[in-house]
Structures are given as structure tokens and as C-alpha cells.
């Protein structure tokens, strides 16, 4: 299983790969603030996350689990990994 820190670093790599204008800061894992990201960029982030982590993230989860907050997204992926037993793709 990947640690939450490893998942967070992979999200930073994804952000760079898809050229998000929003830079995911190193201290963002501890922040409660939502990412300052527009809906198109967030959609593209979710697409890549789903593809690379092998998970399907529903609209309900995006809304109810407040996945625009990086800390919540990492926790969600960590938990999904434990449920599916699949480590994220590298």
C-alpha cells in the first residue's frame, strides 16, 4: 500500500503532467482550504487521478467528501486503495 505522502506526491506529479495552472504546494496536504482551481482543471485532474489510481470517483463523493480539498482527496484515495487492494499506477 502507498502511504498518504506517496499519494500526495503522485498528485503533484499529475498536476505537473497535465499542466494545471494551479501549483499543488508541498504544505497542501495539511491544508483545509479547497484548491484554487476552476472546474475544467478540476475535471482534468479527476480524469487523470481515476486513470492512474484505477478508481471511479462519483459526483456525490466529489461533493460530499469535499474532494477539492487536497487533504480530503488524498485520504479518499488512500482509503480506496485499501478497499480495492490495488496500489496506484506509477
Amino acid at each position: 500500500m502507498e502511504s498518504e505522502i506517496d499519494i500526495f506526491r503522485k498528485l503533484q506529479v499529475i498536476g505537473r503532467d497535465i499542466e494545471l495552472t494551479y501549483r499543488i504546494r508541498d504544505d497542501e496536504l495539511n491544508s483545509e482550504e479547497p484548491m484554487n482551481i476552476d472546474s475544467l482543471e478540476f475535471m482534468s485532474l479527476l480524469i487523470e487521478v481515476q486513470s492512474r489510481f484505477g478508481v471511479k470517483i462519483s459526483d456525490e463523493d466529489v461533493q460530499h467528501k469535499r474532494l477539492t480539498v487536497m487533504r480530503n482527496l488524498v485520504a479518499y484515495l488512500f482509503k480506496s486503495q485499501a478497499t480495492t487492494g490495488h496500489p496506484p499506477e506509477t
Partner: protein, 351 residues
């Protein structure tokens, strides 16, 4: 479904022209009405203005104007057209087919076949397949393929998810038999389970028009629309595009015995700038082999590919012999890819 056009008479694109309605909405106009962030519209969607129909201006009007430009620029004798295939999702009337109105208004032969096809953003490759089948089978000799779309009639300008996106426009393409294959291969796909991801719910038989369907209701994000307005689930459409387009393009190229490296230009449905650039980056297609040309017209649905193709031709980015890939995707859900080789002047039979 994959198809290679090696059987029957080879077919090519003889000419393309387009027409945009005169009325223009700028990003400023749209932002003022809808509250849409103007900067997002311009920088992310890549759209600064849209052409929209005036009141009473319909799909047939745009179709006739685009086709008249085609006859004027080519000098092609209109009486020789024996097939009209018109693609629209906003016809002038529920019946008859808009293609019939266009046959009359263009003064085409009464021996002419005329039919409508109801497709959205995948309409151009679908139309090319229908038109080339009519030609390669020998049923027709010269087919006018028209994409004419007027989504402004079903857009709520109080709905920020769509009001800064769709513009109206029409493109007319003349398809003819050629000495060498212009249209090389096709790939098609459909996933009707996503029919409600991009939909105008009311006005058909399922939800007939009545007083209730006309009422504007507010969603949780402050957008207002009635059941006669288009509603789009943006995230699902984005995911759908990401899922189907690379595979469809690869399949059509493989069927045609070609690779990505053989392609001079990729002309994709002009959905929006951000999604296209995301897709091109993922498919590792360099920007000098793509076209994103929607700043002044927005997403013109089925007309977007031929308009972008015509603009690429005007910029001399396509030369005879060049391989071009056209890919459309959207409402349905439906997607289609066409691989073509641009024909030379010598490839056409003497009239």
C-alpha cells in the same frame, strides 16, 4: 465499427465552404447576461465571441448560404448535384426534412435525393460516411453534405455551463468520385446509455411541450434552464472524450494502414480549447499538427470540423496528398473518425 473505403468508387472532398450568421455575441455580452466569468470563457474555453442566428433565422438559411458560397467559389454546376445529406439537430420543422427545403431553395434537380441526419458533434464523419457510401455504390454522382447547426435556439443564456460555448454556423462540402481514394477509412462508436449526458429533454414525444416544460428552474449552482434548453454534464462528457477519442483515432488509422506519424493534421471537433489541448497532450500530438480555431465562433457542433478544415486549407496547412484525421465526439453519446488524403486537382473526373 471500422470500415475501409477500398471497395467501390474512390471518393474525395472536392470543396468546403462555410457561413456564419451575422449576429455576434461577445464574451462581454454573455458575461453580462449570465454572470459567466469572462476570463474563463476567453482563456479556458478559448472563445471571445460567438455567431448566433437572428430571430427567425433557421438551419436551412445557414445551409443555403454556405452552399451558395460553395457554388460561387467552385463554379460547380448545381444541377449536377444528385444527393443532399444535411445534418442538424435543430431542423426548421419537425417535418419535412430540412434537406428537402434546401433542395428547393438551392434550385437543385428534382431527381436529387435529400435526407437529414440527426447527429451532433460526430455529425461530419457520419455524414462523410453516408455521402461516400452513396457515391462509391454508384447511387449518386455528386453529393452535397451540409452541417447546419443552431444550438443558440436551445441554449439558456442564464446557464453558465453552456451559454459561453455554443455558436451557430453551417458548412457545405461537395463530395465527388475521384481517381484515388480521398476518404480512406472510418471508425464509429455509440454509447446510448449516456443519452442524458447532453440532452434537450422536452419537445419530442417522450416529454411533449406544455406550460410546465417552459418554466425556468434554478439548479444548485444558480443556473436557470427549462426542459427545452440543453443540459450538459460536463465532467461525463470530458471523461467520455478522454476514453473514446484516442482509441477511435488509432483504430481508424490502423484500418487505413497508417500511423500517427503519417498524419499532417488532426482536425478534431472544436469542443473547447482546454479539452482539446488536454487531449492533444495526452495523445502526444504536437500543436503544429493540430488546429484549435474557435476564438470567434465557439463550438459550432457538427459544423465545427468542416469549418476548422476550411480554415486550415485557407492557411495552406493542408496540401494535396496530405493525410488528415477528422474526429467528432459528443451528444448520443456518439463518436466517429475519418482518415482522408487530400485530393489533387488531377484526381477529379472531368465534368
Amino acid at each position: 465499427m471500422r470500415y475501409v473505403t477500398s471497395k467501390g468508387t474512390p471518393v474525395g472532398i472536392f470543396a468546403v465552404e462555410y457561413y456564419l450568421p451575422e449576429k455576434v455575441l461577445t464574451s462581454e455580452d454573455i458575461a453580462a447576461v449570465s454572470g459567466l466569468d469572462r476570463s474563463t470563457m476567453e482563456t479556458k474555453l478559448g472563445i471571445k465571441s460567438l455567431h448566433v442566428c437572428a430571430e427567425g433565422e433557421c438551419a436551412s438559411d445557414l445551409a443555403v448560404a454556405a452552399s451558395e458560397r460553395l457554388f460561387a467559389s467552385t463554379g460547380f454546376p448545381r444541377q449536377k448535384v444528385d444527393g443532399v445529406v444535411l445534418c442538424t439537430q435543430n431542423p426548421d420543422y419537425k417535418l419535412p426534412a430540412t434537406a428537402c427545403l434546401v433542395q428547393d431553395r438551392l434550385r437543385l434537380s428534382k431527381g436529387c435525393m435529400a435526407l437529414d441526419i440527426n447527429q451532433g458533434c460526430s455529425g461530419y464523419p457520419y455524414g462523410l460516411a453516408v455521402g461516400s457510401s452513396l457515391l462509391s455504390s454508384g447511387i449518386c454522382q455528386n453529393v452535397l453534405l451540409i452541417m447546419s447547426e443552431t444550438y443558440s435556439k436551445v441554449v439558456s443564456y442564464q446557464d453558465k455551463t453552456v451559454c459561453g460555448l455554443f455558436g451557430d454556423g453551417a458548412a457545405s462540402t461537395l463530395l465527388r468520385p475521384a481517381s484515388k481514394a480521398g476518404l480512406i477509412s472510418f471508425h464509429f462508436g455509440t454509447d446510448g446509455s449516456g443519452f442524458d449526458r447532453l440532452i434537450v429533454p422536452a419537445g419530442g414525444s417522450r416529454i411533449p411541450s406544455n406550460q410546465e416544460t417552459q418554466v425556468l428552474t434554478e439548479d444548485c449552482n444558480g443556473n436557470y434552464r427549462s426542459l427545452h434548453h440543453i443540459r450538459m454534464h460536463g465532467r461525463d462528457i470530458f471523461e467520455f472524450m478522454d476514453r473514446v477519442v484516442p482509441a477511435s483515432v488509432a483504430s481508424a488509422l490502423e484500418t487505413g494502414g497508417l500511423t500517427m506519424d503519417d498524419v499532417k493534421l488532426f482536425v478534431f471537433h472544436q469542443a473547447n480549447k482546454y479539452m482539446l489541448e488536454f487531449l492533444f497532450r495526452k495523445m502526444k500530438i504536437p500543436s503544429d499538427r493540430t488546429i484549435v480555431h474557435m476564438e470567434d465562433i465557439g463550438n459550432t457542433v457538427s459544423a465545427s470540423i468542416p469549418i476548422a478544415l476550411k480554415r486550415a486549407l485557407l492557411q495552406e496547412r493542408v496540401q494535396p496528398g496530405d493525410v488528415v484525421v477528422l474526429c467528432g465526439f459528443g451528444v448520443g453519446l456518439s463518436w466517429a473518425t475519418t482518415v482522408l488524403r487530400w485530393c489533387d486537382r488531377d484526381d477529379w473526373a472531368v465534368l
